[in-house]
């Protein structure tokens, strides 16, 4: 029995065909992954199912009946719930209040009654939440649970999760998966949108892969492997990055000494952190999200004040430097949040010179010709899919990241700070970014890679440091590092001194 069937769905945005006769079916009680690169059409397809968009052509059937869905209200009535990447909860209201928000009916709400119902639902579905808690006091993982509970509370039997793990730390992912498996046993059908192949392999029964708005195939997880899925997604087999053997260490280029940082809330985010990054190496900094990586990256980018300690880049003290001086000291920065750190409304050409405009002046005026040429060259060299005059806002995540990388690396920095450089990127762009970092290392740059993706750290790093609650737990060479050792350190147990690498 099919819970959902989508047949021959076509959706066009202007000249762009986002979905081209796409078919998709979801069995009752199955967890079905929808896989694809950024822009493959996954989210568009699901938005049609949830009534946020209307299809231009095609048919929707729910529980074997033709269905007309023109708004989320229609979808909810048919038992379809969706949890988007950006949550739609009101932070200043309680869990219970959020759950009944938008319900029509009487004006007066009996809150105690609602809270009781929510508590009962929470228990029945095995999703522990406190109905009286204010949303703003909840962590991201807890908010997501509230979103799921909200859908279930409205009697969803089909749940769409749009990249649910992108916002979660690894432990929260486990909790989410447990809850999903429990709900599956109770008959819930789930559509799971993701980039992460291992998550898909882990939790789903079937996978439908989209490529460029078309079906690339639907397979059972037990009949496939990650390589095949990656191949279906990108149309080529290129998964993972080959790494080299032991390499010679160069001179020390970046020194972080006894660094302490206090975050916005006044808490100690970094506690006496000391690290050295050599020329010709990638030092990977692993750790669960929120353990001080963001603050370390901000300090090294010149965006955050430090409480005490020292940062020395190529012999220059940049402990208290602004972004300008940091760049001048030869630090190239690939920041965590590319949206906030570029000017979306400006063109690619303008963004590419924004931190080095003095190189593009002639007689005090901007040299338009040189700016254009620079953009054309970098677009070619870094394989950016855009024109110089395109606004950065209109680019895909991968191309936006390439613009950032192009700007940074075109200045040949001696140090590269890459913070979550592949987060949210599709497989093709991820490979490209990783290969670029290796290229920088081979060129002689000292690369500090901050990443929550352990696979990425293991694949690229020459040495691996682990950060936990703002402290460095230890440093291992790539040869010594195993997922188990790193996992222990990420969970807060320091490396014993005799195993510490030099």
């Amino acid at each position: 029995m099919h819970a959902v069937e989508l047949k021959g769905i076509v959706k066009k945005f202007g000249d762009l065909t986002a979905l081209d006769h796409v078919n998709f079916d979801l069995e009752k009680g199955e967890i079905h992954a929808l896989l694809g690169e950024n822009g493959a059409g996954k989210t568009t397809l699901m938005r049609i199912l949830y009534g946020l968009y209307t299809e231009d052509e095609g048919q929707i059937r729910i529980n074997e009946e033709p269905a007309v869905i023109h708004s989320p209200k229609d979808a909810i009535k048919l038992g379809v719930g969706m949890v988007t990447q950006h949550f739609t909860l009101v932070p200043t209201l309680t869990v219970a209040e959020n759950l009944v928000l938008g319900e029509s009916g009487s004006i007066a709400v009996n809150l105690a009654d609602v809270e009781k119902k929510v508590a009962a639902a929470s228990e029945r579905f095995g999703i522990p939440v406190n109905p009286k808690a204010l949303i703003k006091h909840l962590s991201v993982g807890e908010r997501q649970r509230v979103e799921i509970l909200k859908a279930l509370y409205h009697e969803a039997n089909v749940l769409i999760l749009d990249e649910p793990t992108a916002v979660l730390v690894p432990q929260e992912v486990d909790v989410l998966f447990e809850a999903l498996l429990r709900l599956q046993k109770k008959g819930l059908s789930v559509i799971f949108i993701s980039h992460h192949l291992n998550e898909v392999m882990h939790i789903c029964q079937r996978v439908t892969v989209l490529r460029d708005g078309k079906n690339s195939g639907t397979v059972k997880v037990c009949d496939t492997d990650m390589k095949e899925l990656a191949n279906m997604m990108v149309g080529r087999e290129n998964f993972g990055v080959k790494r080299q053997d032991v390499r010679e260490q160069g001179k020390v280029e970046l020194v972080i000494e006894d660094l302490c940082v206090t975050d916005k809330k006044g808490l100690e985010a970094l506690k006496h952190v000391s690290l050295e990054v050599h020329r010709n190496e990638i030092l990977g900094l692993a750790g669960v999200s929120g353990n001080g990586q963001a603050e370390l990256s901000a300090v090294l980018c010149g965006m955050q004040k430090i409480a005490s300690g020292k940062v020395i880049a190529g012999g220059v003290d940049i402990s208290h430097a602004d972004p300008n001086c940091v760049c001048a000291a030869g630090v190239g920065r690939i920041p965590e949040d590319r949206h906030a750190n570029m000017i979306g409304e400006m063109t690619v050409a303008e963004n590419l010179i924004l931190d080095q405009m003095n190189n593009f002046k002639k007689n005090g005026f901007l040299d338009k010709g040189k700016i254009q040429k620079n953009a054309e060259e970098l677009i070619k060299r870094f394989k950016i899919k855009a024109k110089p005059q395109d606004r950065v806002r209109t680019l895909s995540g991968g191309n936006m990241q390439k613009v950032m990388i192009a700007r940074t690396l075109s200045q040949n920095p001696s140090i590269v700070i890459a913070s979550q450089p592949t987060r949210g990127l599709d497989v093709g762009a991820t490979d490209y970014v990783r290969a670029t970092l290796l290229e920088q290392r081979d060129r002689g740059a000292a690369v500090l890679l901050l990443s929550e993706d352990l696979e990425e750290i293991m694949a690229l790093s020459d040495r691996i440091a682990v950060i936990f609650e703002g402290k460095i737990m230890g440093i291992l060479s790539a040869q010594e590092a195993t997922a188990e050792k790193l996992g222990l350190m990420m969970a807060g147990s320091p490396l014993s001194p005799e195993r510490q690498a030099a």
Binding site: P323, A340, N341, M346, F365, L366
Partner: protein, 351 residues
């Protein structure tokens, strides 16, 4: 049955420049009601606003006279807004420039125009700059909202002008609350004899050209635009946000001050209470209608100048309040802003 549904969908890029043009008929539709209430025929009124001002040479020149200060206050607002600084204090900065100009005109006795006119320009700019400074420094150093402080500075300057005109600067002969006439050497010369069109118009056009070049062709312009679009992104790129914003705020003030100097040196020849009659606030309308760019600001200022001129003849010939012009201008701003917002949505028919 068909229903209409609103969805979020940005309009194509070519819609944006058309918005002020679409806004005009919409505004006239809305204001027809008010004009009817005032006892005039709307069609006749719009004829007065749009056709009559340009129908004779002398009234066309008068339109340029009216638009001269608007070009400057519009340029001041557009420059600040483009740099992400919401200067609503054009009115106050204009008066501060006028005070300085009146003072220059009193102090520079018997000078040649070669000295007097540049002194007027520098004085006006300095006045506006000084008046813009407190808000700018509060914004940059303490993060105080400049919309509030620049607006409040407008109220303060009114009292300063009132004090000067009723106290130390009161004309000793007539005892009118107005400052003594400025020295002939500091008067902005006429561009066309026997009209009120003066050198200030050229100053305004030159200012518009200069700010266009600065915004679009210089590193400073790129920096200020980056700040205007995303402070965080600008800071990350190593742009000194505070310093740049301070300069933008002060330059904007100086341009508005120039408008005040022009009114004193070209039209009134002394400082009076009702020198501006909200020219500074109209600058915000001009900047918004003009889409923050120089050509747009130029057209918008002339358009508002037409409405001002038309409102005066309308009031003379049909006996309706001259403030109808203000109603039309303010409605136009509201309609334009609404349209800028509404272009992000579209209506769709749902079966």
């Amino acid at each position: 049955m068909t229903k209409l549904k609103i969805e979020r969908a940005a309009a194509p890029g070519w819609v944006k420049p058309l918005i002020p043009i679409i806004a005009i008929p919409v505004t006239f539709l809305i204001t027809s009601l008010v004009i009817l209430l005032a006892g005039a025929n709307p069609l006749q009124a719009f004829y007065q606003f749009l056709v009559v001002p340009l129908s004779t040479k002398s009234s066309a020149i008068e339109v340029l006279v009216k638009s001269t200060p608007l070009l400057l206050t519009g340029a001041a607002a557009a420059f600040a807004f483009a740099g992400g600084y919401w200067n609503i204090g054009g009115e106050g900065q204009l008066y501060a420039g006028a005070i300085m100009a009146a003072w220059v005109g009193m102090v520079f006795k018997g000078v040649s125009p070669w000295i007097g006119i540049p002194a007027m320009i520098v004085g006006g700019m300095l006045g506006g700059l000084i008046w813009a400074f407190p808000s700018a420094i509060l914004k940059v150093k303490l993060g105080v909202d400049e919309i509030v402080t620049t607006l409040l500075m407008n109220s303060i300057v009114t009292s300063v002008v009132s004090y000067l005109l009723n106290g130390p600067w009161r004309d000793p002969e007539t005892m009118w609350p107005q400052s003594p006439d400025i020295d002939p050497g500091t008067v902005f010369f006429k561009l066309i004899p026997r009209t009120r069109l003066h050198f200030g118009f050229i100053v305004a056009v030159v200012v518009l050209i200069i700010i266009w070049i600065v915004i679009n062709r210089t590193g400073f312009g790129l920096k200020m635009r980056a700040i205007g679009l995303s402070k965080e992104g600008a800071r990350f790129a190593g742009i000194k946000v505070d310093k740049t914003m301070l300069i933008v705020a002060l330059v904007s003030g100086a341009i508005a001050g120039l408008a005040g100097a022009g009114e004193v040196a070209g039209i009134q020849f002394h400082l009076i209470d009702s020198l501006s009659d909200s020219l500074g606030y109209s600058g915000v309308i001009v900047a918004t209608l003009g889409g923050l760019n120089s050509i747009g600001v130029g057209l918008a200022a002339i358009f508002l100048g037409m409405i001002d001129t038309g409102a005066q003849t309308l009031s003379r010939t049909m006996g309706v309040p001259v403030y109808l012009g203000d109603v039309v201008q303010s409605t136009l701003l509201l309609v334009t802003l609404s349209l800028f917002l509404l272009q992000n949505f579209r209506l769709r028919r749902v079966k």
